[in-house]
Amino acid sequence: MRIGIACPYSWDVPGGVQQHVRDLAEALIDMRHEVSVIAPADEDRPLPPYVVPAGRAMPVPYNGSVARLAFGPLSANRVRRWLRDGGFDVLHAHEPAVPSLSLLACWMAAGPIVATVHTAMPRSRVLLATQPVLRSALEKIDGRIAVSEAARSTFVEHLGGDAVLIPNGVMTRRYRHAEPLPGWPGTGGTIGFLGRMDEPRKGLAVLLDAFEPLAAGRDGLRLLIAGPGDADEQRRKLPAGLRDRAVFLGEVSEDHKVRVLHSVDIFCSPNTGGESFGIVTAEAMAAGLPIVASDIPAFRQVLRGGLAGELFAVGDPADLARVTARLLDDPARRAELSVAALDAVADYDWNKVARDVLSVYETVVLGRSTVGIAQ
């Protein structure tokens, strides 16, 4: 198939939607499909061959904050040209309701259109009601995909109909092997954490509380923590004697992140809530790590109810310490969980997810001609 994918956010800026589009495109290309991605991009930077740049994203107030979006005649013309010359069998627009390239593509295209919503749509029922052009552009969408239940329900609420739930995928092969950081995991054991340190729902505080009982009697046990936030503030939560056992790496790049995962013995996901999927946990599973995670629905699902990883009572440092201690003392169990995690995460591998997306494409192109420009 010839597939045209529209991405609303800058290609060179790290972001969930961009990474999703990149991984989807590469998975589809692996399956021998022809893929073209149109995205705002800085043309001075090298781009993969399948990306067509559509100018730069500009900062503009939208939905209560400042967003970097691509709009205006230049962007519109580039989208029009891309649609006209692409000869696509299907247009796949991501985040179509955001005023950027995806919306422009839906507005200008005629033919089979699939759209994926990544976030719950803003409360703009009033906006939709007063903008018939917006409504008709979004109603042209033939196949709707949502990456989470929250995204799906607002999509349905605003436009009626239904959306297929296809979660974000994980590029498991990217995480499978990597060189650990020098000096890690070390002989005393290392527990890893990845995420926003100062966001309470990410649960770092729970892990830090559990570290004291864990460290008692385990002289070499260390914590390796990566992610944005105030490291000093978090370090102060540990008793003075243990502060040098926690290493804070700050925010890390994608490649670095994979190495961090391979530098720990156990990965901890102490989130107290707010996760619709838990992509970070899935990435740790793809690295073959034994997981200790809080018993929230997202983790319970991805860890197959406790078969592919250990679950502990949400927000309970004592339970976290108990479960982790048992795991630290049982290398056989850790090896078992590692195998189980790799097996479980295969369900979320991009190969499978891309095939699910492909079946949506195949459904909407039945009996239709190729994508062109609406008159």
């Binding site: 503009v60 709009f71 205006g72 005649p73 013309n77 005023p99 703009s124 917006l134």
Partner: protein, 176 residues
């Protein structure tokens, strides 16, 4: 002798009375001017919103730009008194971003109606800039007049509220 003193005292009191009365009515006029200037500013803001809304729903701009403007206009309409200046500043930023997009003028140049609409938005934005300047100017003078000792001690302002400055981003020249 005593009569002269009494007459002089009475004269002094009368003159003092005229002076205070003059100060009071000056303050009164200032308060009225503040109200008038505030009304003018509010009207200018509404005109700007309205012109932007018309442009947004005209179908002359691409859908993304139209949506951005419509969203910004909606927020100014729904903003309460506290968030008003933020919402209006956001509209200014949205106008700067959208009207400043390269190629927009060229695209619309062919259509007289489109050009007229954009010109109306810009004229309205200019009016906001001027109206706000005048308002803040008279508000400042009124605040100063209210602060003077005589006005404070004798409560010459009466029940009139102290005017507040209106701060917002209303600079329309594009940051090229």
């Amino acid at each position: 002798m005593t009569w002269t003193i009494i007459v002089l005292l009475v004269l002094a009191l009368v003159l003092w009375g005229f002076y205070v009365s003059w100060r009071a009515s000056r303050l009164d006029r200032l308060h009225n001017r503040v109200e008038a200037a505030r009304t003018a500013l509010d009207l200018a803001l509404v005109r700007r919103s309205s012109a932007a809304a018309e442009l947004a729903s005209s179908g002359l701009l691409d859908l993304a730009t139209s949506l951005l403007l419509a969203d910004a206009v909606r927020r100014t309409r729904q903003a309460g008194p506290v968030e008003r200046d933020l919402a209006e500043s956001d509209l200014t930023r949205a106008l700067r971003a959208t009207l400043g997009e390269p190629g927009l003028r060229a695209e619309l140049a062919a259509d007289q109606d489109a050009e007229a609409m954009v010109a109306e938005v810009e004229a309205a934005a200019q009016q906001v800039f001027i109206a706000r300047k005048f308002y803040n100017d008279v508000a400042g003078r009124t605040i100063d007049a209210r602060r003077r000792p005589l006005a404070r001690v004798l409560r010459l302002s009466g029940r009139a509220k102290q005017p507040e400055f209106f701060d917002m981003d209303d600079e329309m020249s594009p940051a090229v």
